[in-house]
Amino acid sequence: MATNGATLHKPLGLLAELTHRCPLGCPYCSNPIALDRRNDELDTQTWARVFREAAGLGVLQVHLSGGEPGARRDIVEITQAAHDAGLYTNLITSAVGITDKTLGALSEAGLDHVQISIQDSEPVSADHIAGYDGAFVRKRALAAEVVRLKLPLTVNAVMHRANIERIGAMVDLALALGASRVEIAHVQYYGWALKNRGALMPTREQVERAAVEVEDLRQRHHGRIVIDAVVPDYYARYPKPCVGGWGRRSLNVTPAGKVLPCHAAESIPGLEFWSVREHSLAEIWQSSPAFNAFRGTDFLPEPCASCERREIDFGGCRCQAFALTGDARATDPVCHLSPLHGRVTELAAARTDDAYSYRRM
């Protein structure tokens, strides 16, 4: 039992945000606007303890992320510690800042999988979106090295108005790079992406064409590459399940050591987060006020309370409910059954031609 009376599940995944430092400036970054500074980052030994505690809690996979995890000088030691704790290790990288030598050392340390973000199939556009000249070339080079080392590669392609017409070319690029999996990830509007929403938002026609194209690509490339895709939030009929249920499947540790139910949870005011500096992960998972705030489904109002989908999507995303309604307990207004769904339709139509506000420290 969690301390709020809801069933306590075992977490499967840990998102370890090792640092907020990143050479790229992607305008859709999911990191918070207020970024943790280098001086506040957890040290190697603390991460090693967190990984051991995570494995003890039942966590199977750790996603080494950021910022750019390669900005940590101890990335190899950190990866080794996660591997030694028995966790499946996944490196989520921009590829800028990871040298071939570092990658080789990571592979030796037991790294299981690499995910590289690619901003577009067109190099000039890709570098413009990343806010970093030459990023595209470096991504291609690191991807080739990942494949040479026989590590499995996923290409993460974040889609928005500027590149959504090139989904087919992105999948072709992923295939050419030797990826076994590609994520067609429509922007989710939190953090920096929320700030840039008007400039990133695709049109309904673009989104509908993209959905048809993804289905076609899946059939065409069946057995050659796995294509994972999600419907973009603001055009969905039902909301996405909040990280598989708040405090149910996963946890997120920030660079400074705060433990969050999801990476955007700090956007909800009034939640009390505990830190790995003061508590064990098990204590936090069971008893931290933030984890118990929306655990289970008892807090949900109508139309969720009597909805047959409440154990499927848990009323949607708490952070989105707060961002769009001002009430984190509300039905996620992405759901067409929400009384406030009209607001989402209006926001999706509120596209602008503003220049990107790049993510910077």
Binding site: K10, L12, G13, L57, G58, L60, Q61, H63, Y88, N90, D112, H113, Q115, K150, L151, P152, T154, S180, R181, H222, G223, I225, V226
Partner: protein, 98 residues
């Protein structure tokens, strides 16, 4: 024809193996066998685990089937069809190399 007719046959001398980045582990906290893969976790039932365990890259498909026939005392034809269907579906998800 039955529903397995669409599954291409697996040659008996194929040596199926898990690719790097895919691991079968037993985890009490998560309730048994799980197949860990890039950013995905699949629960494996006891039978699937027995099959995947044998996909070491050393044993051939024919040997794996023979071994399972002995272990489960079931008709060879039936086991061969079931194992082939599982392996093919794992390979399509890039969870197995054939």
């Amino acid at each position: 024809m039955n529903e397995t007719s669409a599954v291409p046959e697996i040659p008996p001398d194929t040596r199926p193996r898990l690719p790097r980045g895919v691991r079968l582990v037993h985890n009490e906290a998560q309730g048994g066998w799980v197949l860990l893969a890039p950013e995905r976790v699949f629960k494996a039932d006891a039978i699937a685990a027995e099959i995947v365990k044998r996909c070491t890259g050393e044993a051939t498909f024919g040997e794996i089937v023979d071994d399972l026939v002995k272990a489960y005392a079931a008709p060879r034809e039936r086991i061969a069809v079931d194992v082939a269907a599982l392996l093919r579906s794992l390979a399509d998800k890039k969870l197995l190399e054939l």
